[in-house]
């Protein structure tokens, strides 16, 4: 049996007909064509599929699309503003915080929420905050640097 659902994705109401077992990650990628959300381990370990659900980061591979019917979702495609990439995205570029880029969408969503909750995290808080995201290129040093840089950019730009 299929379910008619409406998700508000990056500010736009999107409808989809999905079976109950459709993971939010697959719904975003296959039903809505938003392939920025990456799918790695599909059991909640790697963090690649992290999206914002009503502003909070969650694993889209551990969420059924039907469960979040009517809720707001922000994917990596929705992080940039009309002016271009968000401060977090720019900081990742500046600090070389991405190599192959596979883990990047998950990191960007996680870090966007992290800095919203804690605008000036300590080194320890940064590590704790990104501990649930894996980077197989092992570029963690630059990713941690980028989080601090993003905090600076956000503070400078008064966001």
């Amino acid at each position: 049996m299929e379910h008619e659902i409406t998700l508000v994705v990056n500010g736009t109401a999107r409808r989809a007909r999905v079976p109950a077992r459709r993971l939010l990650s697959d719904c975003l990628r296959h039903d809505l064509g938003l392939t920025g959300t990456h799918v790695g381990c599909e059991h909640g370990v790697c963090g690649c599929c992290t999206v914002l659900l009503d502003g909070e980061p969650v694993r889209s591979c551990l969420t059924f699309a039907v469960t979040v019917d009517g809720q707001e979702i922000t994917t990596v495609e929705g992080l940039a503003g009309p002016e271009g990439p968000s401060p977090v995205q720019r900081a990742f570029g500046e600090c070389h915080a991405l190599q192959c880029g596979f883990c990047t969408p998950g990191f960007l969503c996680t870090v966007t929420a992290l800095l919203r909750e804690n605008p000036a995290p300590t080194d320890e808080e940064v590590l704790e905050g990104i501990s649930g995201n894996l980077c197989r290129c092992t570029g963690y040093q630059n990713i941690a640097k980028a989080v601090h840089r993003a905090a600076e950019l956000l503070a400078e730009e008064g966001q």
């Binding site: 077992r21 591979c61 469960t67 649930g132």
Partner: protein
């Protein structure tokens, strides 16, 4: 990896949820942070899934002088932010990663009853209970020592819903701590110990309990009050205490750690956790420094 098909139910209130569970049985979906991986890996294939995420009345957290009642839909992050119970806070920091904690629920973790999970140990060491509801019948409260039946098995019967869990507040002069060792931060622990210590007016140990994870089919509770011999923490015979805790456990070996290593670990962690808890209790019992 995709979950097997199931029939989906999304009740809007508690009554409808209980009715659905009574009618079709099925598995309850709350946070899904343990259930959905199991479905994705096809370790579970329930015919019916009853999604309680729309039952807003279950997303409660009530702090009373005697204890904290956590509703079935209260997420880890929500409970940690409320800072309602010190030991819950200490344990929740060790549960997976922050993003998982945004979705996972405290009661869900209890019902999942993973022998290496932190929250069952918290319920066990505090002597808390879980409230179960069934359509057309009264609720029943199951104490922690009867709730955890075996690995991944709780006392919840088919058709029942765990609606809340009660975590008692410890008496004045108490302190708690949680220590664990995991291969990687956020992984299930190889072994872990949570401790609750109460000191008397002379700062001697009046009661000391631990609950150990990863070293038995369910959280292993050991009361080491006798071994602490009503001494101040600094003169307790910790070797005897450690032995008593180790004797209560039944660790098994697997790919991650041998049984002998787990036994060693639980002894070390028990001593550390008990000393931490005693220190916290002493701080609580000490007169607060003059201010102003």
């Amino acid at each position: 990896m995709k979950p097997p098909p199931f029939t989906y139910h999304a009740p809007r209130d508690l009554g409808e949820a209980l009715e659905t569970l009574a009618g079709v049985g099925g598995k309850v979906l709350a946070g899904g942070q343990s259930l959905i991986p199991m479905l994705n890996m096809r370790l579970a294939a329930p015919e019916h899934l009853v999604d309680i995420n729309r039952v807003a009345a279950l997303a409660t957290l009530e702090a009373a002088p005697e204890g904290v009642t956590v509703g079935a839909l209260a997420r880890h992050a929500q409970v940690a932010r409320a800072d309602a119970h010190p030991l819950l806070g200490q344990a929740l920091r060790l549960v997976a990663h922050p993003v998982i904690r945004n979705r996972g629920t405290v009661v869900g973790s209890l019902v999942h009853a993973d022998p290496a999970a932190e929250l069952p140990a918290v319920l066990a060491v505090l002597g808390g209970s879980v409230r179960l509801a069934r359509h057309g019948q009264g609720e029943r409260d199951v104490p922690a020592e009867e709730f955890f039946v075996g690995p991944m098995e709780s006392a919840v019967r088919p058709g029942e819903l765990a609606v809340s869990a009660f975590f008692p507040v410890l008496p004045a002069g108490s302190g708690t701590a949680f220590r664990e060792v995991a291969r990687r931060h956020g992984d299930y622990a190889l072994a872990g110990v949570c401790a609750a210590v109460t000191l008397d007016e002379d700062l001697h140990v009046a009661s000391a309990r631990v609950a150990c994870i990863g070293v038995g089919p369910v959280p292993v509770v050991a009361d080491v009050t006798t071994e602490c011999d009503r001494r101040p923490a600094s003169t307790v015979d910790w070797a005897a205490v450690t032995r008593a805790v180790q004797e209560a456990t039944e660790p098994e070996g697997d790919i991650h750690a041998s049984a002998a290593y787990r036994l060693h670990l639980v002894g070390v962690l028990a001593e550390q956790a008990l000393k931490d808890a005693a220190r916290a209790a002493a701080q609580e019992a000490a007169p607060s420094p003059a201010t102003g």
